[in-house]
């Protein structure tokens, strides 16, 4: 024991530098810089994808500004404070999902919003993207790692309840992301490999069951079109055919900014939301996509460093889950637009148009910053 204690105090876990200004206001300079780079790229692409609509740019930029503000506010919270409130926030989030479920079914259609006119309007599902990993990290960090069967079982329940509620809205994309963020916490907490292999083996019968009993017609349609896009050229197949043509025709260096024919002649649907990377691929080519992925990788690398340097188990688990989930966003979106994965309606972080996802993502990065900048100090001698 005493040997381990010594190591804790003598290695890089403990900071011996004076705090910089950014650190005092709990901001991580590297993350902030990379986020701003991504936002800038996003605005350039969006200007082209949105048909040179300045109004769209202003809206997106102000959403980003709002997101930054939320991020800075979140970064001020002590991670320990977050941990102590996570269970309650989780319960509130689930309650809101139930409320949306009830309202939605009364209104005879899909409703994802809580709307108090003039006060607030938001999707509870977005909250769960943060609360689910936070609650799991809090729960698992209270016990020894790796988790025992009982802990895994309770964690599974904590994931499944919001997953089912969100999938019922129906919003399979968000539901899957919430599921993934929770599973990552379990993975990082040392879920045994035989469990992981077993779960993957169990996916097949579960998938068959979902197909037969749970999935909506339009979701089935999406999977079918993914397997054979040409089967439905009037509907979702059109998107994949056109987005592949857009990306492919970009070549190595692209056609140049604002010169993409596919996106500007209205061939590409949803070109400024989920399919925005097709515009980037057409106008900036393989090089442009490579650069963008590189920036994403740098951002993720920094976030993983923060994960490794976190001092508490809670901090490590939460930071790691947020980072890996962020990567999954990028991977699923690029994969689906390029025809590798089915269309599940996941936006490309910081590039796709849409305020809600921006604010959620940035508050996630706010948590990362909080974890990094609230570490315990030893005064410089």
């Amino acid at each position: 024991m005493s040997r381990g204690f010594d190591r804790v105090l003598s290695e890089g876990d403990v900071l011996r530098r004076r705090a910089s200004i950014l650190q005092r206001i709990h901001i991580d300079g590297w993350l902030l810089f990379l986020l701003l780079v991504l936002a800038t790229i996003g605005l350039f692409v969006l200007y082209s994808a949105g048909g040179k609509d300045e109004g769209l740019l202003v809206k997106q930029a102000s959403s980003f500004g709002l997101g930054l503000a939320v991020m800075i506010v979140v970064a001020q919270f002590e991670p320990r404070f977050m941990a102590s409130w996570s269970a309650l926030m989780y319960l509130i989030g689930v309650a809101l999902l139930v409320v949306v479920d009830v309202i939605g079914h009364n209104a005879m259609g899909a409703t994802r919003w809580i709307n108090i006119p003039g006060v607030v309007r938001f999707q509870p599902a977005e909250l769960m993207k943060v609360f689910v990993p936070m609650t799991l990290a809090w729960y698992l960090a209270r016990h020894n790692l790796p988790p025992t069967f009982k802990h895994i079982f309770i964690s599974g329940l904590l994931i499944i309840v919001p997953f089912v509620l969100i999938a019922r809205q129906p919003d399979l994309g968000t539901a899957l992301m919430v599921l993934v963020s929770g599973v990552f916490v379990l993975f990082l907490a040392g879920l045994r490999w035989r469990w992981i292999v077993g779960a993957i083996a169990a996916v097949v019968p579960v998938a068959v069951g979902m197909w037969m009993f749970v999935m909506h017609q339009y979701q089935k349609q999406r999977v079918l079109t993914f397997l054979n896009p040409e089967s439905d050229p009037l509907g979702s197949g059109w998107n994949i055919i056109q987005s592949k043509a857009a990306i492919g025709s970009g070549g190595v260096f692209g056609k140049g900014w604002l010169l993409g024919t596919q996106s500007h002649l209205d061939f590409l649907p949803e070109s400024h939301t989920d399919f925005v990377i097709a515009v980037l691929g057409e106008e900036f080519g393989l090089v442009g996509i490579g650069m963008l992925l590189l920036v994403y990788l740098l951002l993720i690398a920094r976030a993983l460093v923060i994960t490794l340097q976190a001092q508490t188990v809670f901090g490590k688990l939460l930071a790691g889950s947020i980072t890996l989930t962020f990567f999954i966003y990028v991977f699923v979106n690029v994969g689906m637009v390029s025809g590798l994965l089915p269309i599940v309606g996941v936006p490309l972080p910081f590039i796709s148009y849409g305020g809600t996802s921006l604010v959620t993502l940035l508050s996630g990065f706010g948590i990362l910053m909080a974890i990094h900048t609230h570490r315990k100090w030893i005064a410089q001698s």
Partner: protein
């Protein structure tokens, strides 16, 4: 020995998480490489392929809308038809400066700026590239000619033939079959965008709305190659659309017509149905309206006239009209009283012309203020004696009354496939506490016994309850669709529960009373019964539209026309073997037995008599049949 307590080992946890993070990092780099490989494949290996595809993006997909299913009556008379109609379409990509083209259209057809605004709105609605958007419907021959002459000024403009809904029966089936109209933005959000990609109309009310999915069909598409100017060169691939299913209704257009004639232009409603299976044979709500203008878009002025008319032609009285049932409720009350054993067929009540609750001053009047003396059930129904039913209601009590009347379908939706049916109201103690925060008063039970007070029913519910009387409680949900695509409609039988009595003799007693309404010596509608070739069981009802004070009497001269009493009559026939049940409502008709009963008789005749006015053979009793054979 207790198991050893495991201490929290922070060091061990940290190492575990570090291993996992590094593993995830490796996977993450591997997946990113996979994405780059995919992009390399698309952008470098397949570059030529995609480049040509994008360069000559000339392959377009056009949807082929399905033909909407037809609607027929039970004998094959067309109720909803599809008629060829010409519309003007504009393809934005081919028009060049489409706003200028729009100006030219306005100029050529000499239209006003309102139309231009409408056209512009239609063009801006969500659509796929190179899709012709219809901007104007129902072109006249002259307009088609003008467009043809000026074609050179109108790039991207075409006259397209399409099938548009037409209702040859006009106002006769507007309230049952309903109509289609242009898809509005709210509906657009909920529709399957693929299946409706070529469709411009959707069912708005009635059968058209209820069976929209079955009537619509499945969209088809064709892939066409166009030249640089957008003209179609050849069709590469074609998948035909699947037309919607035809629906045969249970309605009989001859009976419908007979029923409308019987109402003779008065406001009101008639429902006739077959008590053996719940098929609606006629469904009249007068006045009605011609649904055809709604299909292509009714003008604001014409719509305003219909909407603001005092006679409310757009209002479906059969499904949504709420009326107190009045004395027509008495046969069902009698069944309830017999089954609950608070009365017997022979128990007697003395009627001095009014009824008083013990220890109360208020007198509940009989319609005959001189009183009928000692009276038993049979005569009470035939004479429509109020005092007897006040007494019955008092003995039965509100709870049991609510229970029985709900089983007869009051206060709940009874139809299987009708859009926007109202449940009506069957009051109860709980209902009153929730609605008015007041307890239930005994006096309210009494007036409920003669179908007045809070109770509200639709003509459909009355007809259905009459059918239950005729079938001795066998529940058949009223429905309009007989076959859909040649198959009987799928029926959800959960809601339908037969009315089962402890002793089925109770049915016979109440039915006997209903027969005596028309054929008894003192029946209220004996004049109608006397002229009938077959035996009818029925019950009249006259309900107040405005309240009359204690001690005053109804004086028709003092009351405005629209405040006069509503006339009701329910009946089924032939009494021995019921083949049709009918409910008639004549708004402000004043007398159930004098006004509504003859209307009901005409409807029954329309179904039971043949063209020469002779009772059809299948409806004759054995005795009548024997007599008919002797005659010739």
């Amino acid at each position: 020995m207790p198991p050893p307590i495991r201490l929290k080992d922070h060091e061990r946890d940290t190492r575990l998480i570090r291993r996992r993070v590094l593993f995830a990092g490796v996977i993450l780099i591997f997946l990113t490489m996979l994405l780059m490989l995919r992009m390399y494949y698309l952008q470098v290996v397949q570059f030529e392929h995609h480049s040509t595809l994008a360069e000559n993006n000339r392959i377009h997909v056009q949807s082929l809308p399905p033909t909407r299913g037809m609607i027929y009556d039970r004998n094959g008379v067309v109720i909803a038809d599809n008629r060829a109609s010409f519309s003007l379409t504009l393809t934005r990509e081919r028009a060049g400066d489409w706003e200028q083209v729009l100006d030219s259209i306005i100029e050529v057809l000499e239209l006003d700026s309102d139309s231009r605004e409408l056209f512009e709105k239609r063009i801006r609605q969500g659509r796929r590239p190179f899709e012709p958007v219809p901007v104007m419907f129902e072109l006249s021959e002259e307009q088609i000619a003008r467009i043809a002459i000026n074609q050179f000024r109108l790039p991207g403009v075409e006259v397209a033939a399409s099938l548009v809904r037409y209702y040859p029966q006009k106002e006769h089936f507007a309230h049952s079959a309903g109509y289609v109209g242009r898809i509005n933005e709210k509906e657009l959000e909920k529709l399957d965008p693929v299946n409706y990609s070529g469709t411009h109309h959707i069912g708005k009310t009635g059968i058209e709305r209820f069976y929209e999915d079955q009537l619509h069909g499945q969209v088809g598409y064709e892939e066409v190659e166009t030249n640089a100017r957008g003209r179609v060169l050849r069709v590469l691939n074609r998948v035909e659309s699947v037309p919607g299913l035809d629906i045969y209704l249970t309605l009989d257009s001859r009976l419908q017509e007979a029923a409308e004639l019987a109402l003779d232009g008065r406001r009101g409603a008639i429902v006739a149905l077959d008590p053996n299976n719940g098929e609606i044979l006629a469904m009249v709500s007068q006045p009605s309206f011609d649904p055809n203008p709604f299909v292509t878009g009714i003008s604001f002025k014409a719509y305003g006239l219909l909407r603001d008319s005092l006679d409310q032609p757009l209002f479906n009285r059969v499904l949504r009209g709420l009326y107190p049932p009045g004395s027509t409720i008495k046969p069902m009350m009698a069944v309830a009283g017999l089954d609950a054993e608070v009365i017997t067929p022979n128990s007697r009540v003395f009627d001095p012309g009014y009824y008083q609750l013990p220890n109360h001053k208020h007198r509940y009047r009989n319609w005959n203020r001189y009183g009928d003396g000692w009276i038993e059930l049979d005569l009470a129904i035939a004479r429509s004696n109020d005092t007897y039913f006040y007494d019955l209601a008092h003995k039965l009590g509100i709870d049991r009354m609510h229970d029985y009347m709900t089983r007869f379908g009051f206060g709940r939706r009874v139809a299987l496939d009708m859009f926007e049916e109202t449940a009506g109201l069957m009051p109860s103690k709980d209902w009153k506490r929730n609605r008015y925060r007041q307890p239930w008063y005994p006096g309210e039970t009494l007036i409920l016994g003669i179908g007045q007070g809070y109770m509200q029913t639709t003509p459909l519910q009355l007809a259905h309850a009459t059918a239950l009387m005729a079938s001795k409680g066998k529940w058949h949900s009223p429905h309009l669709a007989r076959t859909i695509g040649g198959m009987p409609p799928v029926v959800d039988t959960e809601e339908s529960e037969d009315v089962v009595l402890r002793n089925s003799v109770s049915w016979t007693a109440a039915q006997q009373g209903m027969e005596n309404v028309l054929h008894g010596a003192r029946g209220t509608a004996r004049k109608v019964g006397e002229a009938s070739q077959y035996r009818i069981a029925g019950k009249s009802g006259t309900v107040q539209v405005v309240a009359i004070k204690q001690g005053e009497r109804y004086d028709r001269d003092k009351v405005q026309e629209r405040h006069r009493d509503h006339a009701l009559f329910i009946a089924y026939a032939p009494a021995e073997n019921p083949a049709i049940a009918v409910a008639v409502l004549v708004e402000n008709g004043e007398s159930g037995s004098a006004v509504a009963a003859p209307v009901a008789k005409q409807v029954l005749d329309g179904w039971l008599l043949d063209n020469e006015g002779v009772l059809k053979a299948q409806y004759q009793t054995a005795a009548q049949r024997a007599q008919a054979e002797v005659k010739p």
